[in-house]
């Protein structure tokens, strides 16, 4: 059985930046990624990112992935990768079971484990939501931006969070007609700059509206949308049929935290963080000694915060393994300030209240 000091599950922004900081601290790590490409969500993000220079703002997501991978490559002797390999089991004796690309199972024993598995898309319940042509927004991005395949020609986007707005824009860029963005809430969920960008292109965003049903035999051919009143109940007589050949659902993400439950980490349901998240303290260590978390798996946020959290936790792990980074104190402070700064505005409020609820204290 292979033995490693630090096993990182997930090669997204948080996992990669943690590997870098751990390496700088002198800790060797193995990053396991189930996809063939490293970079997590970033590999399909063709748009420029927000944030500040420290989090690579105005760089396109795809290129941020390249930067983070390059940073890891500079520590080749310290960081190794296993791609197309999925962690399927995590056990209390710090042994993980992995399944590789040839469906071969093997075991790895680790001193510390960082779980950086990200989040998965929430599904929406409506009649016929299993018809072909109904996609999650992430799937559409993968199809379009990784494989160059269009999901359809006439699309309705369900959900006006940043992901819904950004993917709508990318669909328009690809020549797909986004007929409308519908949103159940009374206000647009994402950044207004994204909404304005779409509206300019002639795409209407309709609030207090939801999808009621999809129609079609072999695949979706139309949908029924209906207005909602202030109590989120259907307004009678407002049903409208829109013909589409694809529907894109983007109603939020929830942390991919099942490995943590398997390990026996104490979990808590915190709706503001996206669902079931591990109970952690400031060090991002779970209730199980030497099991750490970073990124969307401990609260759905942004790549900018996932990167900074990765750096932060990488430092802490180095310290815990008796190898503090030469600039430990300075860097810890810098990263926690960056996180506070990113979360200080109205869009960070969810994370702030979520973390407070999770920690049951005032440190958040």
């Amino acid at each position: 059985m292979q033995h490693v000091d630090l096993l990182i599950i997930g090669g997204g922004p948080s996992g990669l930046s943690a590997a870098k900081m751990a390496a700088e601290s002198g800790v060797k790590s193995l990053v396991i990624e189930r996809n063939s490409k490293i970079g997590g969500q970033l590999v399909k993000q063709t748009h420029m990112f927000f944030g500040s220079e420290k989090q690579y703002a105005k760089t396109r997501g795809i290129n941020i992935a390249e930067i983070l991978i390059q940073d890891c490559m500079e520590h080749k002797d310290m960081i190794s990768f296993m791609t197309e390999t999925t962690v399927v089991g995590l056990y209390p004796d710090y042994v993980v079971t992995v399944m590789d690309r040839n469906h071969q199972y093997s075991k790895i024993k680790a001193k510390t484990i960082l779980i950086a598995t990200g989040a998965s898309e929430k599904v929406l319940a409506f009649e016929n939501n299993d018809l072909p042509g109904i996609y999650g927004a992430g799937a559409v991005q993968t199809l379009m931006n990784v494989h160059g395949v269009l999901p359809g020609q006439d699309v309705v986007m369900v959900g006006s969070g940043n992901i819904g707005l950004i993917v709508s824009y990318q669909l328009m860029q690809a020549g797909v007609n986004v007929k409308r963005v519908i949103e159940a809430s009374s206000v647009i969920g994402g950044y207004k700059v994204h909404a304005s960008k779409l509206k300019r292109l002639g795409v209407d965003i309709q609030t207090q509206t939801t999808i009621k049903r999809a129609n079609g035999k072999e695949a979706v051919s139309s949908i029924i949308v209906q207005r909602l009143d202030d109590d989120w109940t259907f307004v009678p007589g407002t049903e409208e049929e829109i013909s589409v050949d694809a529907v894109c659902v983007s109603v939020g993400l929830s942390p991919l935290s099942n490995l943590l439950s398997m390990m026996g980490c104490e979990m808590k349901y915190v709706s503001a963080l996206g669902g079931h998240v591990p109970v952690i303290d400031q060090s991002h260590e779970t209730s199980v000694d030497n099991i750490f978390v970073a990124g969307d798996v401990c609260g759905v946020e942004e790549a900018s915060s996932a990167i900074v959290e990765g750096y932060y936790v990488g430092l802490i792990i180095g310290n815990k393994l008796g190898k503090p980074h030469p600039h430990y104190e300075h860097l810890i402070q810098d990263f926690s300030q960056q996180l506070d700064n990113l979360r200080s505005g109205p869009f960070g409020e969810k994370t702030r209240t979520g973390l407070k609820e999770l920690r049951g204290d005032q440190h958040a």
């Binding site: 500040s52 703002a57 950044y191 207004k192 304005s196 960008k197 300019r200 700064n341 109205p346």
Partner: protein, 159 residues
């Protein structure tokens, strides 16, 4: 309205414009009204004309005395929320970011589009710039009627 449709109120739009006298020279208009964690406009401006400040959630503010209208912030803004505007005689000149292909050509007549996505009238493409450092976001110089100064926001090709 902005919250529900993505279209800012007229008063909001006007709050980001200098008076017409000052628009004899090109100036950056930032249409970024909401506190979001973002500041590439500030860090990309070579003339220190845009301030976001220490709290990166603060919306940007342009110092029109410092702004040269160079357009660097226009293609550096991830929200595509900045245009440069100028008045010359009876024409309004703009620099806008454009991320659709194929790019329009110099001299081409295109639709002038407002913030609702509707056609205002026509506009003429004056210049198309796409250097490597712009990272695939083109900067387009376009002229249209001065009447559209506060309404114009982008172009759409006629086809």
């Amino acid at each position: 309205m902005l919250n529900k449709t993505g279209v800012p109120e007229k008063s909001l739009i006007l709050s980001r414009f200098p008076d017409n006298v000052n628009l004899g020279k090109p100036k950056a208009i930032t249409e970024c009204y909401e506190p979001i964690p973002c500041n590439p406009c500030e860090t990309s401006c070579p003339f220190d004309a845009i301030t976001v400040g220490k709290d990166i959630n603060t919306p940007p503010k342009v110092d029109f005395d410092q702004c040269t209208g160079c357009g660097i912030c226009v293609y550096s803004c991830p929200g595509l929320a900045i245009i440069v505007a100028q008045i010359k005689e009876d024409q309004a000149f703009f620099k806008i970011a454009y991320e659709f292909s194929p790019l329009p050509e110099v001299g081409e007549t295109v639709h002038a589009i407002n913030r609702e996505g509707n056609i205002l009238g026509t506009a003429r493409i004056e210049k198309v710039t796409l250097r490597k450092k712009q990272d695939k976001t083109a900067l387009i110089d376009v002229s249209t009627s001065k009447d559209f100064l506060h309404e114009f926001v982008t172009i759409r090709r006629m086809s």
